[in-house]
């Protein structure tokens, strides 16, 4: 035992360093190759970044729910991606009805706000039902138990929607006002993307102020700091937990509508990838840390949008890939997942360095 006891730490560390340096090396080599090719102009890169920002702001909104729930219950709400999906899906019916009535294009602002309201209400409702039925009875159970229940809830919700609304993709109606571009400081931005970014930022600010300034927000922070002491101070912990779930779900529902503006279709499985990516964003920003989730989401969105082209296009391997990796956009999700695994391995406390290490993670 003594031999391996001495030998083991360095071996893993060496392995992890090799892993880390390898990934960084590939990224640098690929980026260098792509930039040297000069195939893309600066405008294209800006487009990538703007697209990444709009995608990332959606991730950030979803990530808020993960982060807030984790901050209080130390539990990954695996079903959060489905909460996001449910909001987008039910709001689709509202949007389609408005579109059929012509209301969507006559009064786009009011109609979109109404659609947003439907999504937020649905998501909140579903999250509260899940919390009540699946999570609340397990509050004192061993750690894996709530996680497994959450996985079950996630699949249950997915296949409920599949049973309710079918397996096909439903196309979100477009809004005429949002077609085309706005030019801002010489940079053309797709209108939908601009709306998404602005909408998400407004939501996040509102949520941040809610948590920082209101009495309920203070109670939430107190509960996340120490549940028992908070209870002793007269805070109704159950109520705070319900509010946390509800607020996080409302943000996810809003994110669902914004997501559907960028990718105008809904499907029962659409919550999975954004959910996982938003979780990555939450960890990246330091789980339990609300501004961190926002930064993490934006960072991940840009990384994912720029990454495939930047890292892989120029990744020439003599003899195998003389012209770079073919179809790099297919590997977009691989990049996101590699990012997820790397963050979990190397910085489980996040880039904004929250206080937790092995104790909470």
């Amino acid at each position: 035992m003594r031999r391996s006891g001495l030998a083991r730490i360095p071996i893993i560390d060496i392995f992890l360093w090799v892993f880390r340096i390898g990934v960084i090396g590939v990224v640098l080599y690929g980026s260098f190759g792509t930039l040297r090719q000069g195939k893309y102009s600066g405008e294209v890169w800006i487009d990538f970044v703007v697209f990444g920002l709009s995608q990332g702001s959606v991730y950030a909104l979803i990530a808020l729910g993960y982060t807030m729930v984790y901050g209080i219950l130390r539990m990954i709400n695996f079903a959060h991606g489905e909460v996001f999906m449910s909001g987008a899906y039910v709001a689709y019916f509202a949007a389609a009805a408005f579109n059929a009535a012509g209301f969507l294009n006559r009064q786009p602002v009011i109609a979109l706000l109404a659609v947003l309201g439907v999504a937020m209400l649905t998501s909140t409702g579903i999250a509260l039902v899940v919390e009540r039925i699946a999570y609340r009875p397990l509050r004192r159970a061993p750690r894996l138990v709530p996680l497994i229940a959450a996985i079950g809830a996630s699949f249950f919700l997915q296949y409920t929607f599949r049973g309710f609304f079918g397996t096909g993709f439903q196309a979100y109606p477009g809004v005429n006002v949002l077609k085309g571009e706005w030019v801002l400081a010489g940079i053309g931005i797709l209108r939908t993307q601009a709306v998404v970014i602005v909408g998400a930022v407004v939501m996040m600010l509102a949520l941040y102020l809610f948590v920082q300034r209101t009495k309920t927000g203070t109670a939430m922070r107190a509960v996340s700091e120490d549940m028992e002491v908070a209870a002793m101070m007269g805070i109704d912990v159950d109520r705070i937990i319900v509010i946390t779930f509800g607020v996080g779900a409302a943000a996810a529902g809003a994110a669902g509508v914004l997501y559907a503006l960028v990718f105008p279709q809904v499907h029962f499985f659409m919550g999975f990838l954004p959910g996982i990516k938003a979780f990555t964003a939450a960890v990246l920003g330091g789980i339990g840390n609300i501004p961190g989730a926002m930064v993490g989401g934006l960072f991940l969105g840009i990384f994912e949008s720029v990454g495939p082209t930047l890292f892989l296009e120029g990744l020439t391997v003599p003899g195998i890939y003389p012209a770079g990796i073919p179809a790099p956009y297919q590997l977009k999700d691989v990049i996101a997942f590699v990012m997820l695994v790397m963050v979990l391995i190397f910085r489980p406390s996040g880039i904004l360095g929250e206080r937790l290490a092995t104790k909470k993670a």
Binding site: M1, S4, G5, R8, I12, F15, L16, F19, M75, I76, F93, I133, A134, P137, L138, R140, A141, R143, L144, V145, P146, L147, I148, A149, I151, G152, A153, F155, F156, L157, Q158, Y159, T160, R162, G163, F164, F165, G166, F272, I276, F279, V283, Y321, I325, P326, A327, P328, Q330, L331, D333, V334, F337, V338, L340, V341, L344, I345, P348, T358, A361
Partner: protein, 567 residues
């Protein structure tokens, strides 16, 4: 009484939910007893009965006057019926179908017994009657209730599996005689169901109390005879398992092969999650690696890299997935708990996306997969179909189960359990966490790899789409249903979660819905699973007993201990 109202509302909502999700209509296609009841109506009946039973159980034990219990059942059943009636009345009027694809006219015809709005009194009446029946069932003494329950369950089981039974009863004089007695050309008629019900009920009544008697008799034999007896039982069991695909036919064999593959994966994941407590959501990656290794090594198609025989390729596949397990485990050694689950999920998805990508297409065939994998052959005997592959799967699962059982009781197994209980304490006790964790990933992965190898030859071609996250969740669900850390539990779980949905095709559309619900429900009511390992059961029940007894525990410590140990 408000509790009964609430119960009725909840169960009614469940009924509407099942209708909207499409289950009732899909199940209605299967006749359980010909001309009497379809599975869809049976589902509705069970919901109303359940409502009555729940309402009756809410009465405190002290005040169980029959009248009060029946009244509660009546109220709950009627409210359940009323929810259904409201659904029937409102659903078609507001064109629910524009949103819910399952809200078809057929569904409403089914719910209202084909009478439309005029069927509402009937629905109310049926709900109330079922509620009263359910409540009444709780009042019956066990002597009557048990044979009744056994009779009904057996008759319904016969009804559910009637196609299968008819296939099994096709040959042989005795078998065809039984078939003619019970079944008509259409299926199970009321007469057949009644016979089954009476026979099963009477048998149950006669055997009541005898089951313990047989055990006691066997235990009272001298040791040598006892050994002979248990060996005989074992031989009988093995013989039954061996002839199963021959008697059951092609379809049964096909289902059993699938069950066997899931048993292989389940044993592997059980080793990681059940023994070592490392929740792995990317487990399907090992299955994929095993399948791709065998596929590429034995294929005669365009992606072939070596023309090996299956028997030479399997050890390579097992070693490949073992190494994959080590490599997979190394970077995530320091991650714990739920983060570990997400990291492994990431790994599993990365592997699938890589197999799917165009970048690796020259080697793995991208989305077109690897084709032309020949069936294994041994001494001129070709494992050509499921009936032959069954034996291959059986031998592989038996071998892997043996390995898992030996590992569980070994030093390594105990180290895993220590790790599961508390990582820091385990390390302090001198367990080398690195080796122990890597071995869990490696050996667990190797077991799944062997499953993947058989999967590749079973299908003859492999596609990346076969290795999605849902498989990992499926395997996780089955070891949780069976009982984490329990080896027989894996088999039980596979039979229930893989075998059953295959046999009842109507279920397979809803299997993931049901899995999700099962995971949530099991975590609340039976986290130790259907066939728990001894340690797990003790642990989970001890905790509960501690909570329940906590206030008393200080006063009477001896009593609390007795309760904790006894349950």
């Amino acid at each position: 009484m408000s509790a009964a109202l609430r119960t009725g509302l909840i169960w009614g909502t469940i009924g509407v939910f099942l209708s909207l999700v499409g289950m009732v209509e899909a199940f209605a296609a299967r006749q359980v007893i010909v001309g009497v009841v379809s599975l869809g109506h049976l589902l509705l009946l069970i919901i109303s009965l359940g409502s009555g039973v729940r309402a009756a159980r809410q009465v405190a034990a002290g005040e169980r006057a029959p009248g009060a219990v029946l009244l509660r059942g009546l109220v709950a059943g009627m409210v359940t019926g009323a929810v259904g009636a409201a659904f029937i009345a409102v659903g078609p009027a507001i064109n629910l179908r524009a949103m819910f694809i399952s809200a078809t006219p057929e569904l409403f015809a089914l719910l209202s017994f084909g009478r439309g709005i005029a069927g509402i009194p009937l629905v109310l009446g049926a709900g109330a009657a079922a509620g009263v029946l359910g409540a009444a069932a709780t009042l019956l003494p066990a002597v009557i209730a048990r044979p009744l329950a056994v009779g009904v369950t057996t008759a319904l089981t016969f009804g559910l599996f009637q196609e299968l039974l008819q296939i099994i009863l096709q040959e042989g004089t005795i078998r065809t005689a039984i078939k003619r007695l019970l079944f008509t050309d259409d299926g199970l008629p009321p007469r057949g169901a009644l016979i089954v019900f009476v026979v099963a009920g009477v048998l149950s009544a006669l055997l009541r109390g005898r089951r313990g008697g047989v055990r006691a008799w066997a235990a009272s034999r001298p040791p040598r005879q006892r050994r002979v007896l248990s060996a005989g039982a074992l031989v009988l069991g093995v013989a039954l398992v061996l002839v199963l695909p021959v008697v059951g036919g092609l379809f049964i064999a096909q289902v059993l092969v699938l069950v066997g593959l899931y048993v292989l994966m389940g044993l592997g994941l059980n080793l990681e999650v059940g023994f070592a407590g490392l929740l792995d959501l990317g487990f399907v990656a090992f299955f994929a690696i095993g399948a791709y290794t065998v596929g590429l090594l034995t294929s005669t198609g365009e992606h072939a890299i070596a023309d090996l025989s299956f028997w030479a390729a399997v050890p390579i596949a097992v070693v490949a997935s073992l190494i994959a397990g080590f490599l997979f485990g190394l970077p995530i050694l320091r991650i714990r708990g739920d983060y570990l689950a997400i990291a492994t999920l990431g790994f599993g998805e990365i592997i699938r996306l890589l197999f799917l990508s165009d970048a690796l297409r020259p080697w793995f065939g991208g989305s077109q997969g690897v084709l032309g994998i020949p069936k294994p052959e041994l001494f001129g005997f070709e494992f050509s179909g499921p009936q032959q592959l069954y034996y291959l799967t059986l031998i592989a699962s038996a071998f892997v189960a043996f390995v898992a059982a030996r590992l569980r009781d070994s030093r390594l197994g105990r180290a895993w359990m220590a790790l599961r209980e508390d990582e820091d304490v385990a390390e302090a006790m001198g367990i080398n966490l690195v080796n122990v964790k890597l071995l869990a990933y490696g050996i667990g992965g190797a077991m799944a790899g062997m499953g993947g190898a058989i999967f590749a030859v079973m299908l003859g071609s492999i596609f990346p789409h076969s290795f999605s996250l849902i498989i990992s969740v499926n395997v996780l669900a089955l070891i949780i249903v069976g009982g984490m850390g329990s080896l027989p539990g894996v088999v039980v779980g596979s039979l229930f979660l893989v075998g059953l949905p295959e046999l009842l095709r109507e279920f397979s559309d809803f299997r993931f819905l049901i899995y999700g619900a099962v995971l949530v429900i099991m975590m609340q009511f039976r986290p130790e699973g259907l066939w728990p390992s001894a340690a797990q059961q003790r642990e989970l029940h001890e905790e509960r007993a501690d909570i329940a007894v906590a206030p008393v525990a200080e006063a009477v410590p001896g009593e609390a201990q007795a309760e904790g140990g006894g349950s």
